[in-house]
Symmetry: C2
Subunit: 325 residues, 2 copies
DNA sequence: TCAGATAATTGTAGCGCTACAAATCCTGTT
DNA sequence: AACAGGATTTGTAGCGCTACAATTATCTGA
C-alpha cells in the first residue's frame, strides 16, 4: 500500500480509501491510484484489513457434498446474492459432522462475516464455538428450531403432498425409501409424515426400506428388491432423491416393468436427470436457488444488525409432475 | 489471546506457541492452555497470524461447476491431501473466465498460500496478477505449458485411445460430439486427435457436432439428431462427458435403437451414472482423485520451496470398458 | 556443589491495513 | 480580502498475532 501511495504521490490513507470508500476520494485521484495499483499488481490485503477494521466481507458456506447436483442451485443462489452485495462466498466441503466442525473452525479462524450451514444437526463443539464467537449463522434446508437464522421448506408438508399425489393416482401399496445415514431431520421427519397419510386411508404404512446412501443410483435396485420382499405387489415408491428414483427406474427397465403402469416412481429434489429419463420423473422442487439467495440476504442483514436472532424464512416447494407418477 | 494467556497464567507468546509450535511448549502447559482456550471459545485469528508471519495455511481452489460429479473426486483428493498436511482448502465456484478472475482476486486478497485452477485458459488480468504476486499456482486437467505447476493427463492420448477402441469394435462411421463453449484445450484438442486416427484408416472424419453445454443430458438427443443428418448410418459416437453419453443413450431408448448393436456410445469422465445405465457406458476414467492429491502436493512442496516452476505431473487415465461399446 | 548445556518461557517490534480525528484545500459569499 | 462550511486528504494509533532474540528454569556430569 505504501509503495502505491508513494508512486501516486498521495498518503497511504488515500490508497486505502480508494478501495474501501471510493466516494471519499476525488475522481481524479482515485483513477490515478487505481491505475498505479493495477500496474504494480497491488491487491489490498484482506487479512490486514479484516484485522484493522474488525470486519470481513467474506462469508463461509459448508456444503455436504458436490457429488450430485442437489446443491448446485443453492450454491449459485448464494454466490450471486453475496457478490451482488459486495460479499465474497467461499466454500468448504464436509460430508460428516466432524468435517463440518473442522470447516466451521477454519471459517472462524478466518474471521468470516457469517457462516451458512446445511441442516440443523451439528456437533456440540461447533455449536458452542459459534455461540461463543457470536458469528451470524444461517442453517438452510431446515424449517424450524434455528440456531440463529434458518431458511428452508417444510419436509413434512412436502412429504404429505407427495403421498397425496400417489394416492390421487390410485396407488394403494406405496413403498418408502429412506436414507439410513440420516442424521438430519431433513430425512427422518419424512417417515411419520409418510405413514400418517396412509394410516388415515387404511393402507399399509410399513413398506419402508433404508438405503446407505441417498446419492447413488445403485441404491435404487437394492431398495426395490427389499420393498418387493415386503410386498410383491408394490405399486408405487417414494424416493429420497431423484438419483435413487432414477436407479429404481433403470431397474424397472431391466425387469421389463412399465412405469408408471406397474410402478409409479416419485423422486425428490428436481435434479437435472429427472427431466431427462423416459418417462420423466415426478419430483419435488425445493426452490434451492431461492434458498441460497435468502440465506445470504439473511446473513448480510444480520451483519448489518437488521435481522433478529431466531428468524426463519420458508422458501416453499412445488411438485413437478412428469410421467413417472 | 491475551485473555487466554492471563487466564492460564502464562505469556501470550506461550499461547501462540501452543497452537503454532506445540513442541516448543511443555506438555503440561500446553494442556492447560488448550483447555482454557476451549472454555473461552478462543480460536486463533488466522488473519492476524497470516499478517504477522507472512505465511498462510489456506489454499484456494477455483472450480468450474458443481453441477455434476465430474469434479467431485478431484475436490475430495485436494481436500484430503491438504488437510493431511495441515493445510486448509477453500473453494470458489466460477463458470466463466471473469468469475475465475474474480475468485483469484479474492484468494489473492486473502493471501492464500497457493491457488489451484482448472484448465490453462485464464484472463490476462489474472495471469498478470498471479505473476506479480508470485503465488504458487497449480493448473489441473491440463498437461502442458504450465503457468507455474500443472497436473493432468493427455487429452490427445486419451482421445486416440477412445477412437482406437471404437475402431477395434469394428465401427466405421464414428461421430464426435464436441463442446462449443470450450475455451479450454481440454476440449478443443480432442478434435484433431479424433480426426487423425480416422483419416489414417481412410474413414470419414467430418462427423462433428458441437453442443452448447457439456453437462446436460439434453445435449445428447440434439447431437444425435445433428450427427444423423450428416450420416444416417452413424454407428458410433464419442461424447464429451458421460452426461451427454447418457443423454444419447436415453434417446436411443426412445428411438428403439439397440446399444451397442445399432450405435456404440463412448462417454468421458467415469461419472457415477456411467455404471448405472443399461447398458453400462464405456468411458474414460481421468484419475481425478489422484489429480486432486497431486495438485495439493505440488502446491505444498512449492510453498516449502521444494518444487521448481514449470513442473508438470501426468496422472494418466484408463478406459473403463462396459457394454455400450 | 556448580559450570555449562539444554529446555521452556517471555518481551519487543512490526506485519498491512483502517477508524478516527485533525489538517488542508476549495468554493462561494459578504 | 476575509471567512464559513464542505470536500479532500493525511497523521496516529492499534487490530491480534508471530519472528526473533533474550531471559529464566531445569538438568547434566564431574
Amino acid at each position: 500500500m505504501h509503495k502505491v501511495a508513494a508512486a501516486a504521490g498521495v498518503s497511504p490513507m488515500t490508497v486505502s480509501n480508494t478501495f474501501r470508500y471510493p466516494a471519499r476520494v476525488q475522481e481524479e485521484t482515485r483513477q490515478r491510484v487505481r491505475e498505479i495499483a493495477a500496474k504494480l499488481g497491488y491487491i489490498p490485503n484482506h487479512a490486514a484489513g479484516n484485522l484493522a477494521s474488525g470486519q470481513s466481507r467474506v462469508i463461509g458456506a459448508v456444503i455436504p457434498s458436490i457429488k450430485n447436483s442437489s446443491f448446485y442451485k443453492y450454491v449459485r443462489g448464494m454466490q450471486d446474492t453475496a457478490s451482488e452485495q459486495g460479499y465474497e462466498l467461499v466454500l468448504k466441503l464436509a460430508d460428516t459432522l466432524e468435517q463440518e466442525t473442522a470447516a466451521i473452525q477454519t471459517f472462524l479462524g478466518l474471521r468470516v462475516a457469517g457462516i451458512a450451514l446445511v441442516g440443523d444437526q451439528h456437533e456440540d463443539v461447533a455449536i458452542d464455538l459459534m455461540r461463543k464467537t457470536g458469528v451470524p449463522v444461517v442453517e438452510s434446508w431446515v424449517h424450524d428450531n434455528p440456531f440463529d437464522l434458518a431458511v428452508g421448506y417444510s419436509t413434512v408438508a412436502a412429504t404429505r403432498a407427495m403421498v397425496d399425489l400417489l394416492l390421487d393416482a390410485g396407488r394403494e401399496r406405496i413403498g418408502f425409501i429412506g436414507y439410513a445415514g440420516a442424521v438430519s431431520h431433513r430425512f427422518t421427519e419424512r417417515v411419520p409424515a409418510f405413514q400418517e397419510r396412509l394410516v388415515a386411508k387404511g393402507l399399509r404404512s410399513d413398506l419402508l426400506y433404508l438405503v446407505d446412501e441417498a446419492d447413488g443410483f445403485g441404491a435404487g435396485p437394492k431398495a426395490l428388491e427389499g420393498l418387493c420382499k415386503l410386498d410383491p405387489k408394490l405399486d408405487a415408491v417414494l424416493c429420497p432423491t431423484d438419483i435413487v428414483a432414477a436407479g429404481v427406474l433403470f431397474e424397472c427397465g431391466r425387469r421389463g416393468w412399465k412405469v408408471p403402469d406397474r410402478l409409479a416412481i416419485a423422486g425428490w429434489g428436481d435434479y437435472e436427470i429427472a427431466s431427462e429419463t423416459t418417462p420423466g420423473l415426478t419430483t419435488l422442487q425445493p426452490h434451492a436457488y431461492e434458498m441460497g439467495q435468502e440465506s445470504m440476504n439473511m446473513i448480510i442483514k444480520r451483519v448489518a444488525g437488521k435481522k433478529p436472532r431466531g428468524k426463519v424464512v420458508d422458501t416453499g416447494f412445488h411438485i413437478v409432475k412428469r410421467a413417472s407418477v
